[in-house]
């Protein structure tokens, strides 16, 4: 940034500005991020579950490493991602297939956010209490 005669800042970066899309664009950005995140989780999950076929002991060893607060927080994030992806996925299906879907896409986005908040309020406290009550033994 350089200060010029007008006293404003002229950006140095040659790249353009970030496109200022609205709800539709950000809902898609989130949908893709959560979709890719869920994909990588499933990949790991298939690998760890397949340990059962090697030996139940190896499986138990891997699974027990998950039982710590960091993983507990990770599980919360995973559920948050899946819940958003699922609700917004239904929104996208309605946009494509319901004749009034495109018209109500913005309303439906806020419904998705509302449902997400309600679901997470139901899930996160229970889950985190469960996770942190085991901290330090047990």
């Amino acid at each position: 940034m350089a200060i010029n005669t007008a006293g404003t800042m002229t950006p140095k970066r040659p790249a353009g500005t970030l496109y200022r899309g609205r709800e539709g664009m950000w809902s898609w950005v989130l949908h893709r991020i959560t979709g890719v995140a869920i994909f990588f989780f499933l990949l790991v999950h298939i690998l760890d579950t397949s340990m059962v076929r090697i030996s139940p002991e190896a499986y138990n060893a891997v699974i027990s490493t998950y039982q710590n607060p960091i993983m507990g927080l990770g599980e919360t994030a995973l559920v948050a991602a899946i819940v958003y992806h699922a609700f917004n996925g239904i929104r996208i299906i309605l946009i494509d297939l319901w004749s009034k879907g495109a018209k109500y896409q913005r309303v439906m986005f806020w419904v998705v956010i509302g449902l997400w908040v309600v679901t997470m309020l139901g899930f996160a406290p229970r889950h985190l209490i469960n996770v942190f009550s085991h901290v330090g033994g047990a």
């Binding site: 970030l18 200022r20 879907g101 495109a102 896409q105």
Partner: protein, 256 residues
């Protein structure tokens, strides 16, 4: 200016109230292929009235400050579709964007539309955009003769079916607002689909299935991720994403 209206007494012409002018800072993304390796931002201060448009600001800069500033415009009234550009991060027609609708306490960023090859300053190469447009066969096709010495008849309801998509002025604001198009220049893009929709749902046309086939391509309607950037950008208020959804459904049905 509101006071000028209130002061006007019936019968007598309104006294000339001084119209307030503002200093507006525009930061424009410049690129001269003969000199620059990459685009650079340059700012200009211009005196503007609230009723002026960004196009007027560009004119003032070109005519009074820097004649090398390059942009396209023709009609200056939102008809020809020449001057789509990114204004404060959103695709707009410069000739339809009023200063009063922008926050002029901050500089206004103006840059070329995204996803098409940048040629100079605010001008991009529109050829890939028009190539996609041509590919959807945007003209009436019918093998049946019209009634002798008569036009082809169409009911009001049949005409209304595709009314929205007749309004397109091919400005490319929609196509160049689409995140899918930015990363995949092969995607037909919203404007081509809008113009296909115009004929697919025209009761007089007989080539709907050809166009549906073309758009069933891997780079066709299924690339659409419903971000609604196109609908938000269209200066004609066309419900672009709705039109794309209707074409998707027509492909699934196998008929319009």
């Amino acid at each position: 200016m509101a006071t000028a209206v209130a002061d006007a007494t019936a019968g007598a012409p309104a006294p000339e109230a001084p119209i307030e002018a503002f200093t507006v800072t525009l930061i424009i993304r410049r690129f001269d292929p003969d000199v620059d390796d990459e685009p650079r931002w340059q700012d200009f201060d211009v005196q503007m009235f609230a009723t002026d448009r960004i196009l007027d600001a560009l004119h003032k800069i070109k005519w009074e400050q820097d004649g090398s500033l390059t942009f396209r415009r023709s009609c200056a009234h939102g008809i020809c579709g020449s001057d789509a550009m990114r204004i404060n991060g959103r695709n707009r027609l410069a000739c339809k964007t009023l200063i009063k609708d922008l926050d002029i306490t901050k500089p206004i960023y103006v840059e070329a539309i995204k996803g098409l090859p940048l040629e100079k300053d605010l001008i991009v190469d529109m050829e890939p955009f028009f190539a996609s447009y041509r590919e959807v066969q945007p003209f009436l096709q019918s093998a049946t003769e019209p009634p002798k010495d008569k036009e082809r008849v169409q009911s009001v309801a049949d005409r209304a079916r595709f009314d929205d998509t007749t309004k397109c002025i091919l400005c490319a604001a929609c196509t160049s607002s689409c995140p899918v198009f930015w990363t995949d220049g092969q995607y037909f893009g919203p404007a081509a689909i809008v113009n296909a929709h115009r004929f697919i749902f025209d009761s007089r046309d007989e080539a709907a299935s050809t166009r549906l086939d073309i758009l069933n391509d891997k780079e066709g309607v299924w690339r659409c991720r419903t971000t609604f950037n196109c609908t938000d950008a269209c200066p004609r208020g066309i419900q672009v994403t709705q039109a794309i959804a209707e074409v998707k459904q027509a492909i699934m049905r196998g008929k319009p």
